[in-house]
Symmetry: C2
Subunit: 298 residues, 2 copies
């Protein structure tokens, strides 16, 4: 497995692979790899001849410097995991390589960036769009694989790729969950035992809403109160948002759901009872409300 640290060297490698007729799949990560990332690598392997992983904790997408400082890092273990998973190459640039002196260019995706995580994390998706564009232009892959846990991020990236004519296929891979249902996230490492236990409230809330939708409940307010009731049962959890939105446009869903609808959650788990430190977790599911006899197709 090759370790590359400069954009120039990566571009040369990409040109050489392309000239040899090989397909490249890139898996962009911020390291702290877990089984969710490994599922992305497997998806990449199914779609290309070479699996490349980038590991870069992008400072500009953290709105809170403390969150950046505490973001888990495990570089040597990450390299081992990539090697074991059959990655051909890891791209791990220093910050100065990605943010050269005088850097002043940014990519903005409009409407898709505004709600949900965009509402509280100022500049987050601008930073995400910019760094992903940079990684795509550095690696020049045929395919890039992202996790569906960051649903809005995936929507923003798909839109950017289409809008700017990037010649790359964007693939979303399903959320990977622990045995008790908690969506895998690098941030889970920061949870204490009690917060970890209570964090299952997120998936329980999604399950409850999905079960209700399958039973024919299409009333958005009713679905969201079922969600809030589940979160309320976890005293360590503070709900940032629970929203129903169109999965394509991320516009608010109608009061009566008419078709597939994104249910997206963001929750802050307090570490230690009464403590100020919190870990932000997100999760989502696309609900497919059942059509009952006499119901409208919307």
């Amino acid at each position: 497995m090759q370790l590359i640290e400069t954009v120039r060297a990566l571009q040369e490698r990409s040109e050489a692979e392309r000239a040899a007729g090989r397909r490249i799949a890139l898996v962009p990560t911020m390291g702290a790899l877990h089984a969710g990332h490994l599922a992305l690598l497997e998806e990449a392997r199914r779609r290309a001849d070479r699996v490349w992983v980038s590991i870069f904790v992008n400072p500009t997408q953290f709105d809170d410097p403390a969150d950046l400082a505490r973001y888990p890092r495990s570089f040597e273990a990450d390299l081992d995991a990539c090697r074991a998973a059959g990655a051909a190459l890891v791209f791990a640039p220093a910050s100065a390589e990605m943010y050269p002196d005088g850097m002043q260019t940014a990519i903005e995706v409009g409407e898709l960036s505004w709600p949900l995580c965009g509402a509280t994390r100022s500049g987050h998706f601008r930073a995400v769009g910019t760094i992903v564009a940079k990684l795509l232009l550095a690696a020049k892959p045929h395919v890039a694989v992202f996790g569906e846990k960051d649903f809005q991020q995936l929507a923003v990236i798909r839109r950017m790729v289409r809008d700017l004519n990037f010649d790359v296929e964007i693939v979303g891979a399903p959320i990977v969950r622990d045995a008790d249902g908690l969506a895998l996230s690098s941030r889970n490492r920061r949870l204490d035992a009690e917060a970890r236990r209570q964090a299952t409230a997120l998936v329980q809330a999604l399950d409850a809403a999905e079960a209700a939708a399958s039973d024919g409940v299409r009333d958005a307010a009713r679905l969201l109160s079922a969600v809030r009731a589940k979160i309320a049962r976890a005293p360590r959890a503070e709900l940032e948002y629970a929203e129903l939105r169109d999965p394509e446009t991320l516009r608010p869903a109608p009061a009566q759901l008419g078709g597939p609808t994104l249910l997206a959650l963001a929750v802050h788990m307090r570490l230690a009872d009464g403590g100020a430190e919190r870990v932000r977790l997100i999760d989502n599911r696309v609900l497919r409300p059942a059509l009952r006899a006499g119901g409208s197709a919307g």
Copy 2:
């Protein structure tokens, strides 16, 4: 010569040329081709195996709809000119191909976009950056050639390419001038005879400043008054700006020039005496002030 109208077809063509080991040079234009453009094509030919020209009058970069409506168009003649100049391919997309439904992504280059033309043309460089990125991602050339008449545009594009890791070499080609010195521009076609005659005030102003700088004048205020005096002798000309700036950063030059300095001009030429209709022209030159005995190297 091949005529291509879709991004997809252009990307496939690019992949095929690259797979065959051929170098592509792209010359992005808004059509209405003149000898200045042909010089860009010659420069492209020197640097690549295939010269590709894009012809797209980008609506979003016109801040004034009337300016867009009046922008000269000569598509058939442009195709003939490209063919005669040995272009292998012309990319001429419809507006809907470049601006698909729901398009919401834009590229912003910061500080370099703010002064000079950016001060009055709101959103202009955001639109330029975005469309040039789209053209680079559609054609995937090895080289792209731009004219130095649009000095700030070239600076913005160079910065964007470096900041986002575009794997393309950006080449600037010198300004081409008519026999009397007027910089070639598609907009010159809109000048009446008198405005055309008086438009030479721009190059005379540049010449005057350059002569003064060569004589050792390094006082910015003195150089700019020489410029303004020349423009004032053309009653049809209204000065928008005359500025001395650092050629790399476009920051204001010091009161005493210390090294190579951009002198940039924008002038509106009134069509018919007292008429409201005007044609906006720009021109520039990099002054290289002589160091006089006892002068400071700055």
